[in-house]
Structure formats: C-alpha cells, structure tokens
C-alpha cells in the first residue's frame, strides 16, 4: 500500500512513541530496581531479613542514654530500638536538629558485622515540609507503640 504523507507521518509518530516508551520503561525498571530502599526495624534485621540487601534503611527509636559522642571527631554511636530488638549504629557527621533520646529516626546505610554504619540519619520530623497530620500520627505512634512504622512489622 503506498504511503500517503499523512499516513507516513502518523506511522513515524506512532513508532517513535513506541520506541521511546520501551526505552523509558526499561530504564525506569532498572532505576527502580537499583534504588528501592527497604525500611527495616532492628528486630527484622536481627531475624536476618536484611541479609539480601546491601544498603537499606533502619527505622526505630533512639534508645535513651545510648548516644555516645567521640571526643575528638564527629563520630557518634547510638542504639536504635523497636519493640523486639536493638541495633547499634555508627555515624560520622552532623545529626539532624531533632535527633535526641526517644526520637524516631531513619538511618540509611549498611551492616558491618553486627553494627549498622549509617551514611545518613533523618529524624522523622526532619521531613522537608512537615504535614501536621504526620506530626499527629508520629505523636500517637510514640504514645502507644514504640517503633515508628507499624507497617514494617505487620506480617
């Protein structure tokens, strides 16, 4: 069938859209696979769930009295706990404003023997623009159950 200009134009457009869509889809899937961060609680890590992830996010509460600062560097160690577990964490750098005892935190990093080495520590309230509901939800979580993410332990 001879191609008239309109048909040819449409075909070109459709084909280029298809090609672009395929490339985009492949890249998106690859990027997603590489950048999915799982949030685990100390008890999940201790039951071996972290074994398959190189880096992951550790979420829980800072155990009261566990914060130890080094006297000559920015190194700080603390313990993150949830209802059923505890995990020592090591971090070098400046901690967020709201970091303190009994604060819920999320640390990104990897396991080094039995210790979690964090490259980033977020206090939960440090979200860029904190919606009020979140604050309320957090306050509630503090009040009735330790550990921030109920969803994390639900199975």
């Amino acid at each position: 069938m001879p191609m008239n200009p309109t048909r040819k134009r449409r075909l070109t457009i459709v084909l280029s859209i298809l090609a672009a869509a395929v490339v985009a889809a492949v890249l998106v899937v690859l990027a997603l696979q590489n950048n999915m961060n799982y949030l685990l609680t100390p008890s999940q890590v201790q039951s071996g769930e972290a074994a398959s992830y190189k880096t992951f996010r550790l979420g829980g509460m800072v155990k009261a009295g566990s914060i130890q600062r080094s006297s000559d560097s920015l190194k700080v160690t603390f313990t993150v706990v949830d209802a059923g577990g505890a995990m020592p964490v090591e971090y070098t750098g400046i901690l967020p404003d709201l970091f303190r005892d009994n604060q819920s935190v999320i640390a990104t990093g990897h396991m080094d023997n039995a210790r979690f080495v964090a490259t980033e520590v977020l206090a939960k309230h440090d979200e860029t623009y904190m919606p009020k509901e979140l604050k309320d939800a957090m306050a509630k979580a503090h009040a009735d159950k330790p550990g921030i993410e109920k969803a994390g332990n639900r199975e």
């Binding site: 200009p5 869509a21 890249l27 961060n37 920015l74 400046i94 404003d97 623009y129 604050k135 939800a137």
Partner: protein, 661 residues
C-alpha cells in the same frame, strides 16, 4: 465576628458554587440564556463569601482567638503578626481555604475577562470552575472545617511549625497554589470544549496567557520552595526529590508541555486532543499535589486512619475529576480533531518530542513518588525510592529537550528546511565545544562540570542566535513581540539553570567538621575561622549563634552568623548563614555542641562552598519571567477585541502568527 460566621459563609459559598456550576451547564445544554447568565453573578457571590471566610480566619489569628481549634494549634501569643497571617495557610484546613480563595480569584478574573467569548462556551467554562469549587468547599465543610471550636479556650496556643517561620515559606504556598489553581482555567477550557464538541483555535489563543501565567506562578512557587529548603534546612541542597517537592514538580512538567502544545494548537490547529489531555493531566496532578502534601498520605498510608473521611473524600474527588474528564475525553475527543499536517522536519515535530519527554518525565516522577504506596498496597514492605532513581532518569529524559531546544525556533511550522539547521548545528557545536575546552582547564577536568558548561552554552547560544536573526530580519518594533520575548527569556533561563545545576553539583565542597573557637578550616582558597558561639534571642525564640569569619588571602570576605534556634515548645531549628555571590555561595550551618555542658567550646559545623548555585534560581526566575512576558503578548489581547465582531478572518490572523513565529 465569630468564627461561626466563617462557617456560614463557606456554606453559602457552597450553595452559590452549586448554582454557578449546575444552572449554566443546564442552560448551555438547553440553550437557555437566562440560566447561562447565572454563571457570573453566582461566581461573584461565591467569591465574596469565600473571601469573608478567609478574612474571618485571618482575623481570628490576628486577635489570638484560641477558642478556634485551628488558631490554637498553629499560633501563640509570641508569634509575630506576619507569621500569624502566614499561619492561616500553615496547616491542612487553612491551606485548603487558601486554595479555594485563589480559585475564586482566578474565577473572577476569568468571568471579568471572558465577556468576548461566545456565551455558551464562557458559561460552560465558569460552570466547570464552579464544579471544582463545589468539590473543595464540600471537602472543607464536611471534613476539614477550620472554624471548629476548642472549649474551654486555652490561655495560649501551640505554635506554627518553626520550619514555616521564614519569609520564603510565607510566599511559597500562595505562589504554588496560584500555579496549581491556575491550571484549572486550562482544564475548564478543555472540559467546556469537550462538552460543546468543538475547540476553536481562537479559544485556545485566548486560553494561552492563562496557562502561561499559571505556569509562571508555579515556577515562582517552586523556586521559592527550593530557595527556602536551601537556606533553611541546613543541608545545603536545593532539591531533594522529596515527595512534596515532586508533588509540585509533576504539574510543572506537564504544564511546560501544555504551554508548547497550546502554541501548536492555536497556530496550526493540530495536537488538539493532546492539548486537551495535557490540560486534564496538569490540573489532575495539581489536585494530587495539593492532597499529597497536605494529607500526609505519602509518608504513611495509615495517616488517614486518624480521619478516614478525608481519605475517602480525596479519593472520590480525584476519581471523579480524573475519571470523569478522561471519560468525557474518550467520548468527545474524536469530535475536536483537526489541524494541518506537518513533516518530520518541522517545528511541530520538535515541540511534540519535547512534549513527550516532559510527559514521560512527569510519569516517571509520579511512579517514583507513589511507589511507596504501591509497595504498601502489594505487601512488598516499606519501600522508598531513593533520589538516585530520579537523579538518573530525569537528566536522561531531559537531555533530548535541551539538545533540541536551539533548533525549535529556527524550524518553520509544517515543513522545516534542513540546510538552515546544518548551519545552526555547526555554530552551536563550535560554541559549546570551545567553551567546554576552556572550562575543562578551569574545573580541572571535572566531566560533569564540563558537560554542564557545554549544555548551557549550547542552549544559550541557540537563543542568542535566534534573537540575532530576529534583530536582522524583522522590522523595527516587531522584532520581539511578547510571545517571542517570553520564549527567548524562558529558554535562556533553561541554559542558565543547566549551568547552575551541573556546576554546583560537581564543584561544591561540603565539610562536616568539629571546630574549637579560633580554629580554621581551608576550603579551596577560603579560610573559615570559627569564633565561638554566644546566646541571642528573637521575638519568639532563643538561639545559640555562632560566628564564622571567612577570609581569602588577607582579605576578609564575610562574617557569618549561623544559628541554632529553640522555639517555645522546644522545637529546634537550624538557621544557616549564607554569603551569596554570583559565582559562589559560602554556607555555614551550626551542628551540635560537642559537649552539651560547654557551649563556649567546640561545635560541629557544616561548611560549604557552592559555586554557581545561584544560577539555578536565576534560571528558574528567568523561566518565570518568560511565562509572564509571553502572557502579555498583544496578540492574545487583540484577538479578544476582534472576537466582538464575530469570528474575524481566522485565516488572516493565523498568517500573522505564522510570519512572526
């Protein structure tokens, strides 16, 4: 004025919004002019009552009426008056009230300026605006009443979230909402066109400045938000791919596509269905953005548990808006098709590619942003998608846009000629290469920085060459009409932005250090000397304020005062100190004291040098300016006047548009 009056005003506004939407729609359907004529007065009435409600809430804040729950939650006696005004939109309920107020501002402007449009079409447009208002007013009245009482009345209120107590944050939400809500105009146009089954090019021309203004406001809001995050959060970053940032960025991307698609539809009549689809998406994403940020749904899907009605309402509202308009689109879009054919080498093709890239980028951001919800729904565990996902895909998707940008303006509509492109390509490549080589020596071969310079120069040279061509070829006084000047400014902004992003990302130096008073750190050619911390107070905070003196060689560059503020309820907030410059920012944030009992001793400090970071916001502001300038084009206004005499020779106006473009 009692708060209950505010609630009453909202209920009356809802009734008027119902009248504004239903009656004109019925009128347009049955051809009843009397019903259609209800649209404008009803809109005016609604605006009066919404403004009244907003005023009453603001008044309650100004006179510390803590018997209102919302006021008690978000202000206290020590909060300065300007932040009490900003507190009106500092949380969920009030920000929805701001949203509906701004919707009314746009509706009034639309009602006043649409006199020249055909009556049936104009009344449908205003009716659709009314429908949106119905949804929001119902949401406020039934789930998020800002006027709820708190009895007994407390002696003092809580506080406005300290991160919001900043001038940047005062203007950020209204600007952002002006943008979000502004897209409702394009949306209303599209729905009205679908309802009527026809879309005249003249109407698209009339709609264009509205879209441009909305996009400009959105750009301004995003720039303000980015600047605020940089100055306020103490992380020195300007963009974090945080869900709330993404929420405003998705409508921006689709809006950028829409601006260009509208140009094609207006001038050539093609891409009509695509333009309509984009306006539906731009507004739907604006709605999604509003709800994502304010509902907390993203941080946890369980956030709704505290008030399930809100979640259900939002889902229902989004479903009706998105589902309903897409259904209408599916039924009616074939009716509005049309337009001139175009070649593969043509301005349309380039604009279409740009459009697709913007749309795909928006979809990519949407996927990454909503992925935690998807993961939660599929029981995959608590997943978040890290910034590298966006950081990898976004530049990849935008690279074609940046590469094609110089060529778009040089191509003709319908059929472009290749030889012109070759000459242009040669010049742009030479300029970009030359600058890249020079830059390579200055940045010590940092590849990302070199790419940044090359890409930026690529775009800027393309813009300058086109400006030069217009200067040579067009008669004096008609060289740069608003539309063209706006396009040149916005594209120039993209070039500046690209340079800013890539140079600051690649050349910034960040150092977290422990410093005792008197100690000095060297970053590049700058010496940062820490002179200790002392105590200071503000209107409603106390702070530990550090002093850092920056010198370069013998010359003192800046004395900086980063603070660690404590607000009445014990919230701690870092105030970074920034010494701004065209080619570099110096940035100091105070960490924590190394020994909590000895504040005069050593502290943790975060020191940065950030080359060219200001170019990022400079580029953003140029884009915003471009949108505004474009909207002022006389052509958009002239045609409105011409509409009075019926549809005046559309062919002739088209040619004018083409010969200029």
């Amino acid at each position: 004025m009692t708060p209950e009056l505010g609630q009453l005003a909202l209920i009356l506004a809802l009734l008027l919004a119902l009248a504004q939407s239903i009656l004109p729609l019925v009128g347009a359907w049955r051809g009843n002019r009397a019903l259609m004529a209800v649209a404008r007065p009803a809109a005016a009435g609604q605006a009066v009552f919404v403004a009244m409600a907003f005023g009453i809430l603001a008044w309650a804040f100004l006179r510390f009426d803590f018997s209102v729950q919302y006021v008690a939650d978000n202000s206290n006696l020590a909060l300065p008056w300007y932040y009490r005004i900003a507190a009106v939109w500092g949380a969920h309920e009030g920000s929805l009230l701001l949203w509906i107020l701004i919707l009314n501002v746009w509706t009034i402007a639309l009602a006043a300026l649409s006199q020249k449009l055909p009556e049936v079409f104009a009344s449908r447009v205003i009716a659709v605006m009314g429908l949106i208002a119905v949804g929001f007013l119902a949401f406020i009245i039934f789930t998020s009443n800002p006027f709820g009482r708190l009895l007994p009345m407390p002696g003092d209120g809580a506080d406005l979230n300290p991160v919001l107590q900043d001038p940047g944050m005062t203007f950020h939400p209204p600007m952002l909402y002006m943008g979000y809500v502004g897209f409702s105009v394009a949306f209303a146009f599209s729905i009205a066109a679908l309802l009527g089954g026809e879309l005249e090019q003249a109407w698209v021309r009339w709609a264009r400045p509205w879209t441009n203004m909305a996009w400009a406001f959105l750009t301004c809001g995003i720039v303000a938000g980015s600047w605020w995050a940089y100055a306020e959060l103490g992380w020195g970053g300007w963009w974090f791919w945080d869900p709330v940032e993404n929420a405003s960025f998705m409508p921006w991307l689709v809006g950028a596509a829409l601006i260009h698609a509208q140009a094609v539809t207006e001038k050539r009549g093609s891409l009509r269905a695509w333009t309509i689809l984009l306006s539906i998406f731009a507004f739907s994403l604006s709605l999604l953005g509003t709800f994502l940020v304010r509902s907390g749904v993203l941080t946890s899907v369980h956030a709704f548990a505290s008030d399930p009605r809100r979640g259900v309402f939002i889902l229902a509202f989004l479903t009706i808006v998105v589902g309903g308009s897409l259904l209408l689109y599916a039924l009616r879009a074939p009716k509005v098709l049309g337009g001139k054919a175009f070649n593969v080498v043509s301005r349309e093709t380039v604009l279409l590619i740009g459009n697709l890239m913007f749309a795909v980028a928006a979809a990519m951001v949407l996927l990454g942003t909503l992925f935690p919800l998807i993961g939660d729904a599929l029981n995959l565990g608590r997943i978040s998608v890290g910034p590298p996902y966006f950081g990898f895909l976004f530049p990849l998707l935008m690279a074609p846009v940046v590469l094609l940008m110089p060529f778009g303006p040089f191509l003709r509509w319908g059929k472009g000629d290749a030889p012109v492109l070759k000459g242009l390509l040669l010049r742009v490549v030479v300029a970009a290469l030359a600058c890249a080589i020079v830059a390579a020596f200055l940045v010590d071969g940092n590849l990302k920085a070199i790419v940044g310079v090359a890409a930026g120069v690529w775009v800027v040279v393309g813009v300058l060459l086109y400006a030069l061509k217009r200067w040579r070829e067009a008669p004096r006084g008609r060289r740069y009409p608003g539309e063209m000047a706006g396009m040149l400014l916005a594209h120039l902004g993209v070039g500046i932005f690209v340079i800013g992003v890539l140079l600051s990302e690649s050349l910034s130096v960040t150092r977290d250090v422990r410093m005792a008073p008197g100690e000095t750190q060297h970053i590049g050619s700058y010496d940062f000397r820490f002179d200790g911390v002392h105590h200071t107070t503000g209107p409603n905070w106390t702070a530990d304020q550090g002093t850092v003196t920056v010198t370069r060689g013998e010359k003192q560059i800046a004395v900086m005062h980063p603070q660690k503020r404590t607000y009445p309820r014990g919230q701690v907030q870092t105030e970074s100190a920034v010494d701004a410059g065209v080619t570099r920012d110096l940035y100091v944030a105070l960490g924590e004291p190394m020994d909590a009992n000895n504040l005069e001793g050593a502290w943790a400090l975060r020191l940065y040098t950030k080359p060219f970071i200001r170019w990022i916001w400079g580029g953003g502001l140029l884009m915003m300016l471009g949108g505004v300038v474009c909207a002022t084009d006389k052509r958009f206004r002239l045609k409105r006047a011409a509409k009075a005499e019926g549809v005046v020779d559309a062919g002739a106006t088209l040619q004018v548009g083409e010969s200029r473009a």
